[in-house]
């Protein structure tokens, strides 16, 4: 394992320390229990958005704390759900009285810990569960689909509504719409190494890719030989379009997300391929996002998220945001 580490047990603490120092104009980091909150108090009457999850997906979620997005984020150990006391403390810290909306990715550990945190918090609260990963079959009998990169879009869009005075119910409703309107498909070329493990999570050949990979290096639909980008992108988009079934000329946001180890140069190439393929299918791309937003440590690979946009979604997407990882309009 080659990583910037002093001591495996201090990995998270030291990384959070650095994050706090680097972005002291926007956020502050609280330790024991760990949470990241905005530097300024939530204004009265504004719904507070709190997300969280295992670490290793940076900038998600701490990088999205700030004006127009989250009020707080609770980082767990690498790839492990955070603990209920973190969510309780974060909620008590940021709630201005208008209630707390927890944004939770659909994994058993996250669901259970957020649920317990919500039970321990006495204030008004509700939650949104994201499950945009089309690689996994959905079913009411199972854990269902994973929450992946569309969580970033949910946090941005709902964050804007909360900022402009949306109620807890309205925020939840919009979040659920964004989640339902999105589909994501990921591909990995390499594995990733969890610091505590010290070795890669899975083995993969030099000429292989994992199609439908999760954001923790969990296996996906199938293992395949690597192909030209156009073919990979086409297969990814087909899986998404199969699920999302957009109308002809429907407006969409196209989000190419890096898994951490793939250079932006390649992500833009993927964006180009995706544009061409979507254009040929009569799907209109009206907004874009390209970069490393929902990563899996140093994994090489990318995910594509397509979000069907209506006026409400577009308006809230365009609204100003100022966080460590996303900033425009202010």
């Amino acid at each position: 394992m080659k990583k910037f580490i002093n001591n495996v047990d201090d990995f998270l603490k030291e990384s959070l320390n650095g994050f706090g120092k680097a972005h002291s104009d926007i956020i502050r980091v609280n330790f024991e229990p760990n949470f990241i909150s905005r530097k300024t108090k939530t204004k009265e009457g504004k719904v507070s958005l709190i997300s969280g999850g295992g670490s290793g997906h940076e900038p998600m979620h701490g990088g999205f704390v700030g004006h127009g997005m989250l009020d707080a984020a609770c980082p767990g150990f690498v790839f492990s759900a955070p603990t209920p006391d973190q969510m309780q403390a974060a909620a008590e810290n940021v709630d201005s009285g208008a209630g707390v909306l927890f944004i939770v990715k659909n994994y058993s550990g996250d669901i259970m810990n957020f649920q317990m945190g919500a039970e321990m918090y006495s204030g008004k609260n509700d939650n949104i569960i994201t499950n945009d990963d089309v690689a996994v079959e959905d079913s009411t009998f199972t854990t269902g689909r994973r929450g992946v990169a569309a969580t970033v879009l949910v946090e941005k869009i709902v964050g804007s509504l909360a900022e402009s005075g949306g109620s807890l119910e309205e925020c939840k409703k919009l979040g659920e719409k964004v989640n339902k309107n999105s589909g994501t498909m990921g591909v990995a070329f390499t594995s990733c190494t969890v610091p505590a493990a010290g070795k890669p999570t899975f083995d993969i050949g030099n000429d292989e890719m994992e199609f439908g990979v999760g954001i923790h290096g969990e296996p996906g639909r199938k293992r395949e030989k690597i192909q030209p980008s156009k073919t990979i992108v086409n297969n990814m988009l087909e899986a998404i379009l199969d699920d999302l079934k957009p109308q002809k000329n429907e407006k969409t946001l196209l989000f190419i997300n890096g898994m951490g180890g793939t250079p932006l140069t390649e992500l833009y190439l993927v964006y180009d391929d995706a544009c061409e393929i979507l254009k040929s299918k009569g799907i209109e791309i009206t907004r874009s996002l390209v970069g490393n937003y929902c990563t899996s440590l140093e994994m090489q690979g990318a995910s594509i998220t397509l979000l069907k946009c209506d006026e409400e979604i577009l308006k809230n997407w365009d609204a100003p945001v100022h966080t460590a990882a996303m900033r425009w309009g202010m």
Partner: protein, 209 residues
């Protein structure tokens, strides 16, 4: 059962889990994401380290402190589930007096029921509940019956092992492995394996005592 009993069990379990850590990690890498073993190890370490703080406390208080430590110190599914287990054990009525075998069974049953509720997983879903639920059912039988305790403990060891092995051919419907579909088949569930090792260690330490 006493706080000291819990601590000494945690120490025994820690040794066994550490001995089998590589196997559990490998199972989790096959069908999960590899964090289970680290969470279990971290949890055991935290409980063992609590010794000086809790060794003189009454059982209920000790259990609650263990629950809070586990809940806030582990994370992931294991933290929520084992935290729930200890928290619920502490809620079993009449913990002030002497805890005999029947009372201890009742406590464990209460804890496992709460885990089942929290995780919304039942038998047959390729999780740790595949081991824990049948064990809890057997404890319920033992509690109300006249079976010899040593015999009962041996039966539990056998049940835990059989049920752990049975997860190998299951399709997972809950937890991280559920995302794999058919590809999860052929691998024992790591949570079922760690739970089985815990039960095995406790039962073996009690036989002929």
């Amino acid at each position: 059962m006493s706080v000291n009993f819990l601590i000494s069990q945690a120490k025994n379990i820690q040794i066994v889990i550490n001995e089998n850590a590589a196997e559990i990690e490998a199972l989790d890498q096959n069908i999960g994401d590899g964090d289970h073993i680290f969470n279990v190890q971290r949890g055991l370490k935290l409980v063992v380290e609590l010794e000086n703080d809790i060794k003189n406390l009454p059982l209920q208080k000790g259990l609650n402190m263990i629950a809070m430590k586990v809940l806030s110190g582990i994370g992931g599914s294991s933290g929520a589930l084992f935290g729930t287990f200890f928290m619920s054990m502490a809620k079993t009525p009449d913990l002030d007096g002497n805890i005999d075998f029947n009372k201890a069974c009742e406590m464990v049953i209460t804890g496992i029921n709460a885990m089942k509720e929290r995780g919304k997983a039942d038998v047959g879903e390729k999780t740790m509940m595949d081991v824990l639920i049948p064990v809890s059912e057997k404890l319920n039988e033992l509690k109300s019956g006249n079976t010899d305790m040593n015999e009962g403990l041996s039966e539990i060891i056998k049940i835990a092992e059989d049920r752990m092995l049975a997860t190998k051919d299951m399709l997972a419907t809950k937890g991280r492995a559920s995302f794999l579909g058919e590809r999860a088949k052929g691998h024992i569930d790591p949570g079922a394996r760690s739970s089985q090792l815990i039960i095995d260690t406790i039962c073996k330490s009690l036989i002929n005592k």
